[in-house]
């Protein structure tokens, strides 16, 4: 396989993603884990760019890195005292490792089988040329098109509103009344 710039960029982002992810699950300091999560999510955003989905990459940066990670950091701070626990892993960590590895092995095996067999062409082929002229506009239109995703879109907004209210309700301090 020839080495292209694209491939190199991919490898860098993949490395960021996976190394960051490993850091998240392994870091003893929870705050550090949150920062590593930021790194990993950034890697995923880069992969989205490579996959010609710039809008999603932007959303990833804004929502995940900007929103969710900040939320997590807040939670880490609100539950301080847990940041530097002695045992970060539960007693079943080794079982968890075996299971996760078994899962990974299965998927890799499956991918390998598919590449050898029925899906070889798809797996080796470059992404199709062309596609939509303006995917961002198309996505926007699809989300408000009654024939496509308008209903799920509205349901999603209701879900978000519900989550918002629910989160406020759950996290509210009962003594402050």
């Amino acid at each position: 396989m020839e080495i292209t710039i694209e491939l190199l960029v991919f490898l860098v982002f993949a490395l960021l993603t996976l190394a960051g992810g490993l850091g998240v699950v392994l870091a003893r300091n929870l705050f550090r884990a949150a920062l590593l999560l930021l790194l990993s999510l950034f890697g995923v955003a880069g992969l989205f760019v490579l996959l010609a989905a710039p809008f999603l990459a932007a959303v990833q940066v804004l929502i995940y890195m900007g929103g969710i990670t900040i939320l997590i950091i807040f939670a880490v701070m609100l539950t301080r005292g847990m940041v530097r626990a002695r045992n970060v892993f539960s007693e079943q960590w080794d079982l968890a490792a075996i299971v996760s590895l078994a899962f990974l092995a299965l998927v890799v095996y499956l991918l390998w089988q598919l590449q050898q067999g029925s899906s070889a062409a798809l797996f080796a082929a470059p992404p199709p040329e062309g596609g939509l002229e303006n995917p961002i506009a198309a996505l926007g239109a699809a989300l408000v098109d009654p024939a496509q995703y308008m209903l799920p879109f509205e349901v999603a907004s209701v879900l978000l509103a519900g989550a918002l209210i629910g989160a406020i309700y759950i996290a509210r301090d009962d003594e402050v009344e």
């Binding site: 993949a14 699950v25 995923v44 010609a52 997590i72 079943q92 590895l101 082929a125 759950i170």
Partner: protein, 102 residues
């Protein structure tokens, strides 16, 4: 050019890492982070297949957007629960939250 299987491989690895985090960490916040990693792995898969199979429709991207929404809702509610539990029990270790047993 990057072949499809590489993306799938990265997604699988990220998923496995997240799964390990979810299964092994004691701190509930860390578990949530693991869940976020798994959701991201799913999104990579969705977008990769969209790019290589159906780039002229919006189905893959739309799905990814909904995964974002669900992830955001999940994080908000999950963290709220954690804060509430911490306030009550001074702990966010999941094995301390085991009233529902036997």
């Amino acid at each position: 050019m990057v072949p499809l299987w590489m993306f799938l491989l990265v997604a699988a690895a990220l998923f496995a890492i997240g799964l390990f985090g979810v299964l092994s960490r004691r701190n509930a916040v860390a578990i949530l982070m693991g869940v976020e990693l798994m959701l991201n792995a799913v999104n990579i898969n969705l977008i990769a297949f969209w790019r290589y199979r159906t780039p002229d429709t919006m189905i893959g991207q739309a799905f990814a957007v909904f995964v974002f929404v669900v992830a955001a809702a999940e994080a908000a509610v999950g963290l709220a629960l954690i804060v509430a539990i911490y306030r009550r029990r001074q702990s966010v270790a999941v094995e301390d939250v085991n009233l529902l047993k036997w």
